[in-house]
Amino acid sequence: MAVRHEKDGAPGTALTTLESLIAWGRKYSLYPFTFATACCGIEVMGAFGTHYDLSRFGAEVVRFSPRQADVLLVAGTINYKMAPVLKRIYDQMLDPKWVISMGACACSGGFYNNYTVLQGIDKIIPVDVYIPGCPPNPEGIIDAVVRIQKIIETGAPRAAERWPIK
């Protein structure tokens, strides 16, 4: 997007395409839905709090209805009994939607290699950004949000468009 700034008192003009204008708007108004099931949820609270302040990146309006959310932030252990709930919430979100898998448990099951924990949420839903860590720092969440913004800005395909991975 090219913006011309001329300090001659005349109204400014912006030359752009509709796609990049929409992407620019989306990029700074990502509404997250936090699916926090474990200690990662505490770090999410830290990221939304005043110290790390995720609202600097336009992603502070937490929606507790999946129908109003753009980003599903899965923070914590997902077990087999919880898996259908997560899938349903993902299905209820409107396109375009992105998924952040936060922490070792959501990414791979973590150290819960046992009979009841789902070994990574990408077994049931497409994931755009993985955050490693147990739990990750709030910086990790900020980094993930910035990466989602990059995906929107560049028009890169979402994970849902590549799903299921063959």
Partner: protein
Amino acid sequence: MSIVLDRLRGRFPADVVSTHSDFGDDTALVRRERIVEILAFLRDDPELLFDFAMDLTGVDYLGEEPRFEVVYHLYSLEKKRRVRIKVRLHEDDPVIDTAVPVWPGIDWYEREAWDMYGIVFRGHPNLKRILLYEAFEGHPLRKDYPKAKRQPTIGPEE
């Protein structure tokens, strides 16, 4: 011998297999046939009054025979005493009468023992899985449950 085990032995001489209270932990291994009578006696006897069923759990002694064990932990709020009742069950017939008529609160413990060990509590009013979901295959706390076994992921409709 403690008063609790003495009274239990005196009342059910044929059903008490063995007892010990080496460290003050009164424990009795009993036969399963009259378990409900034994538990009701422990609850109602004026000297004992075990009115609080604190816990029920299963144990899997894989390789031993009988393989399974059901353990009741009882407490008397009146007498401030505890007792542990154990019952061994065979692998091919892991069935025991329910203790829900004696203490209604033991309902969920029995469901948990069914869920995790596959021990059947005959006469239980609602014997179904309590922690896991209905489509789960097997009983995961059995020692021969495969460590790396993965369960089918169920959809939102199930």
